[in-house]
Symmetry: C2
Subunit: 190 residues, 2 copies
């Protein structure tokens, strides 16, 4: 029997694809099956289920940071916030498993994970600094924007909205309200 030629990256990549396709919980069994391998083989490349989840979370956060960065580059102010918001929601829809994985707090001591987490926040902070915000006001504004976007996406994903009105329309209104709030945030330059 030929070897499968696994690596840590391949195992995690398979898990990432699986997580995005299958709404259920991630299992080693499924990952092994997709790679044409038995479950114990995965332990050579990943520290069990917990390690696999960590790997998926790390990957997801890196991608999330990249998506936000790409949306913000070359834009500023309301336009940048709007582009980031739309990009985030679109990405969350396309990659539900990764989006959920990215919620995990970074594993203590995992520098890569912490860095990826920090970068996603940093992009948002950089954009909001363009409103003239700094210090505590900036922190509050970042938290506000993250909360609004994250909360909307979560509620939408978990079926928390009835079907009375398209979620996209409500999201646009939310972004409009958020940018308005940021322009009038304490400490913002008028």
């Amino acid at each position: 029997m030929g070897r499968a030629g696994l690596t840590s990256a391949k195992v995690i990549a398979a898990a990432v694809r699986l997580a995005d396709e299958d709404p259920g919980p991630l299992t080693l069994k499924q990952v092994a099956a997709r790679l044409g391998v038995r479950e114990p083989s995965l332990y050579q490349h990943v520290a069990g289920l917990e390690g696999l989840r960590r790997g998926v979370a790390r990957h997801a956060k890196r991608e999330l940071a990249a998506v936000l960065t790409a949306a913000a580059v070359g834009r500023a102010g309301d336009e940048a916030v709007g582009a980031m918001a739309q990009a985030l929601r679109t990405w969350a829809h396309a990659h539900p498993g990764q989006y959920r994985a990215a919620e995990r707090a970074p594993a203590a001591g995992d520098g890569d994970d912490e860095r990826a987490s920090a970068q996603a926040v940093a992009v948002v902070a950089q954009v909001l600094a363009g409103y003239g915000l700094a210090g505590d006001h900036l922190v509050d504004a970042v938290r506000f924007l993250r909360a609004a976007l994250h909360g909307f996406i979560r509620l939408e994903a978990s079926g928390g909205f009835g079907m009375s009105r398209p979620a996209g329309a409500s999201f646009e209104q939310l972004v409009a309200a958020a940018t308005h709030a940021l322009r009038h945030w304490p400490g913002a330059t008028p």
Copy 2:
């Protein structure tokens, strides 16, 4: 051996307490142990793990609706929104397991669950109607407020905020921004 005298309500109550005390996933084993009973005994009162989760979710949503209602009664406008927001966050801190359980979409066909879910939303809608909102504008506003509050609480609970600044201060600022946005919402009475 004397009987434990279980009922569906007692089983779910034990599960609720357990969920709020233990951050890990809810297990039948723990619930059975707490009730001094073997796991199969629970099946007389609850439809397996899934049924237990449903029961916890139903209970949590009822309590959530009650908490929001209590906060809003006798108040209106910004004051009502602020009271609901504070009550929600306080309740979420005190009952993390129930808060997470309340996120579940109501089980299709479970009238009780659907009713409890709807009532929590209805209280918010009623308060926001006090801003003169109706129709799609009202739907958008409710979704905005729910998203902001829920997102903040989730990010806070999952350690998404660094420790640079107390979350409570950011939350007050979020509530201030949200009430401002509601006062200026499209269709709001000035």
